[in-house]
């Protein structure tokens, strides 16, 4: 059985008829067509499905679409204007904070929340802030450097 839902994604109202068991990450990818948000472990551990849900980061593989109906979601596509990169995106690029890139959307969404609460974190605090996000390529050094760099860039604005 399907039910109607409406979720504001990146400022735009997205409605659809979905199965009640559908997960938010699939609504974002398949109904809204925003494939920046990835499905990784699918068990709430890897964090690559991280989005902002009503102002806080959430793992969208662990939320039902129907639960989020009426809410606002920001995905990786929504953090920049589509022309200039967000300082976090710029910093990941400059620091080579990725190899395959699969974890990057979640890393950036989680880092964005971290920096909103703690604008100049230590490297240790960055590691704690990203403990819900797993990268299987880089070993995290460059990811931490990227977030550190972004913090400086964002503090300078």
């Amino acid at each position: 059985m399907t039910v109607p839902v409406e979720i504001t994604i990146n400022g735009k109202a997205c409605s659809g008829e979905v199965e009640e068991r559908q997960l938010l990450v699939h609504f974002i990818r398949e109904n809204a067509g925003l494939t920046g948000t990835k499905v990784g472990c699918d068990t709430s551990q890897c964090g690559t499905c991280t989005v902002q849900l009503d102002g806080v980061s959430a793992k969208s593989c662990t939320v039902l679409t129907v639960q989020a109906s009426g809410s606002s979601v920001t995905t990786i596509e929504g953090i920049s204007d589509g022309v200039d990169l967000h300082p976090l995106q710029e910093a990941f690029w400059n620091n080579h904070g990725l190899q395959c890139g699969f974890c990057t959307p979640g890393m950036i969404m989680a880092a964005n929340e971290l920096l909103s609460k703690n604008p100049s974190p230590t490297r240790e605090e960055i590691r704690h802030g990203l403990e819900g996000n797993i990268c299987r390529c880089t070993g995290y050094q460059n990811i931490v450097s990227a977030v550190e760099d972004a913090a400086k860039a964002m503090g300078g604005r």
């Binding site: 059985m1 199965e19 068990t43 991280t50 996000n133």
Partner: protein
């Protein structure tokens, strides 16, 4: 992974949630969903009906209430970790909340959902057992209260009737000058507690005037460590006294420890003494 087919209802009030539970046999409550949805995706749970209470504002937030605080069942781990009231009245609860899962999980996971799920590897049930918390419940016949020690009845089982809703948790303030601590051995992947220990120690005139200690992760429900508490009573909280008290936890474990591929029952029992000792050491250093 997808959950099995469900019918979803969003309850606007506690009364409506109770009604929906009464009308739909086998229905499960959904709050933050961070315990239930993973189980449903693995098909370890397949309720036909979900009653979402996640938007009932009356169930959210922390308030001061005679001699302690009342925490709404929908209050998230992140909110508890950063609450001044929790910090003031029961700081050990904030300490434990900050150790749950990871930041995104703490943003969605709720204290009521966590305790109702009754996973012995969760952090807050252990802390609430040590704090002598009371769980406030609403059902078709009205309200009742359940002591923390009686709430979890077994592995993933609780004392709620099929159509009752946990609405809030009352936590008495720790004694003035008491030191408290929660220490855990987190599973490296899931962050659940392989073993977790909570301790609240009060000191008067250089001697321990009250002690409450609980251990989670070892048996199917949190264990109140009364032998440890008895060993601490009146002691000087010296290292030797804490060593002896922590070792007494063996007498509180009934031999029914859980074991799995990561940590055997024997290992968990051994770690219970180690983590109780660490919790006692941290609590003692904060007391006075």
């Amino acid at each position: 992974m997808f959950p099995a087919q469900i019918t979803y209802h969003r309850a606007g009030s506690v009364a409506e949630a109770v009604q929906l539970l009464s009308d739909n046999e086998g229905a499960k409550l959904l709050a933050g969903g961070h315990s239930l949805l993973p189980l449903m995706k693995l098909r370890l749970a397949a309720p036909a009906v979900l009653v979402d209470i996640g938007r009932i504002e009356a169930l959210k937030g922390v308030s001061a209430s005679g001699g302690g605080i009342t925490i709404g069942a929908l209050t998230t781990h992140a909110e508890i970790a950063s609450s001044d009231l929790v910090q003031q009245h029961a700081p050990v609860l904030a300490e434990a909340a900050a150790l749950v899962g990871d930041p995104a999980v703490r943003n969605r996971g709720t204290i009521g959902g966590s305790v109702s799920h009754a996973d012995p590897a969760s952090d807050q049930p252990t802390v609430l057992a040590a704090l002598d918390a009371t769980f406030n419940v609403t059902g078709p016949g009205g309200d009742r209260s359940i002591a923390a020690a009686d709430f979890a009845t077994g592995l993933l089982e609780n004392a709620l009737a099929e159509n009752e809703v946990l609405t809030s948790i009352s936590v008495p303030s720790v004694p003035s000058g008491a030191g408290s601590a929660y220490v855990k051995f987190p599973h490296p992947a899931s962050r659940y507690a392989v073993v977790g220990a909570a301790a609240v120690l009060a000191v008067s005139g250089g001697a321990c005037s009250s002690a409450s200690v609980a251990v989670g992760g070892v048996e199917t429900t949190p264990v109140r460590a009364s032998s440890v508490e008895a060993a601490l009573a009146g002691s000087d909280l010296s290292d030797a006294a804490l060593d002896a008290a922590a070792a007494a936890v063996a007498g509180d474990l009934n031999g029914d420890a859980m074991g799995d591929v990561f940590a055997s029952a024997e290992y968990r029992r051994a770690m219970a003494a180690v983590y109780v000792r660490r919790a006692l050491g941290a609590a003692a250093s904060r007391a006075g």
